[in-house]
Symmetry: C2
Subunit: 196 residues, 2 copies
């Protein structure tokens, strides 16, 4: 076989393998996360734990830096949220619980959440954190414990800690060894991604 | 009491509280980690899990960005490593095990490590990863599992995942509820940090 074809074959195989591990019922919503380094690191982590859907609410385009994502943005579905109230309602009606991350006094420990349920994890803006609307509408508010002088973590770090706790729980339940996306979506993504 | 004095009192109290939780036998070594965003996010995470000692091997000064560390670099001990072979030998002679992080085939899962032992966690350069010297001299090589298209995580993300697994294990053993640094070091740091 000619060499380019062989590379394409290999790539296609890799895409297929990777799609077997995607977790369509664990989603991420970046509420006004602004910094391109953060957004890019988050997308890269999301790819690594098998996230397929990433929503964001920025007015401008999502600031993605190819050198930092290492191309990960090509292997997830990025979707802009135009109307947040609408979006939250839609996700809830599809059976998702909304998990907000914030350092409020009543927030529960992030390790006490059952991440094998359908969840949308919401991360907040670098300065302002999560909006009041979101705190009010969230089903769960969780926080990562901190023992130091500084009050909060970098948002890409906080995202990774939560997603990897989800990964741990889902791995334990065998969620990465059995295909979890529909065959229609699988076929659609193979067609779309296979031509990069 | 006058207002400035009151603020200083409060700050001193906070420093003391924080020192009660520092973990002198869990240390971080940044082997040629270059990017200022990464270094700064790492220092901020280190503060949050109670790391006190951070070593680095850069020729230039450590690129710290105050807006990203949120001041965390003021509450850790940053030390430049001039001679790596010497440094590793010294740490080992003091009873530390060296944990390198790399995606080598024989690396063990990062969750299988006992982080309640005295450890130096080593993180590698953004492009090159960990050096051969370090891989050879490390007592343990560990990796974080990945299920996506991209081969590695951002280094500040990888650091956070490992440090928070250590935090979890140390919390469980009560390491944050009893002072673990010597009274001499405590007094020295209160004197030094109290004047910022
Ligand atoms: C830098 S923080 C925002 C800090 C902001 N001053 C606040 O009070 O929310 C940016 C985002 O990172 C996440 N985050 C940071 N530290 C966290 C922690 N310890 N627990 C949960 N989420 C955290 C949250 O999503 C937060 O909205
Ligand atoms: C971007 S990675 C370096 C990638 C480099 N191409 C390599 O092969 O090592 C930078 C550093 O992050 C850490 N790192 C990134 N992903 C990791 C993973 N999955 N497991 C363990 N460490 C990881 C390691 O310390 C690594 O040296």
């Amino acid at each position: 076989m000619d060499k380019t074809l062989l590379i394409q074959e290999k790539r296609l195989l890799r895409i297929k393998e990777c799609l077997q591990k995607r977790q369509p019922d664990l989603r991420l919503y970046l509420e006004n996360v602004q910094n391109h380094h953060n957004v890019s690191a988050i997308i890269r982590t999301a790819d690594a734990v098998g996230i397929l859907h990433i929503y964001y609410s920025l007015q401008k385009n999502l600031p993605v830096n190819d050198a930092i994502t290492c191309g990960a943005h090509k292997w997830v579905i990025l979707e802009k949220v135009e109307d947040q109230a609408d979006f939250l309602k839609k996700m809830k009606s599809q059976g998702f619980q909304i998990v907000a991350t914030a350092l409020t006094p009543d927030a529960i420990d992030f390790r006490d959440i059952d991440y094998t349920r359908p969840l949308v994890i919401v991360m907040g803006n670098e300065l302002e954190g999560i909006s009041e609307e979101l705190k009010n509408k969230a089903d769960i508010i969780c926080k990562i414990p901190m023992h130091g002088m500084v009050q909060s973590l970098n948002v890409s770090v906080a995202t990774a800690l939560i997603l990897y706790e989800a990964q741990r729980q889902r791995e334990q339940k065998g969620f990465y060894s059995k295909k979890r996306i529909s065959s229609e979506l699988e076929a659609e993504l193979i067609k779309k991604w296979g031509i990069y």
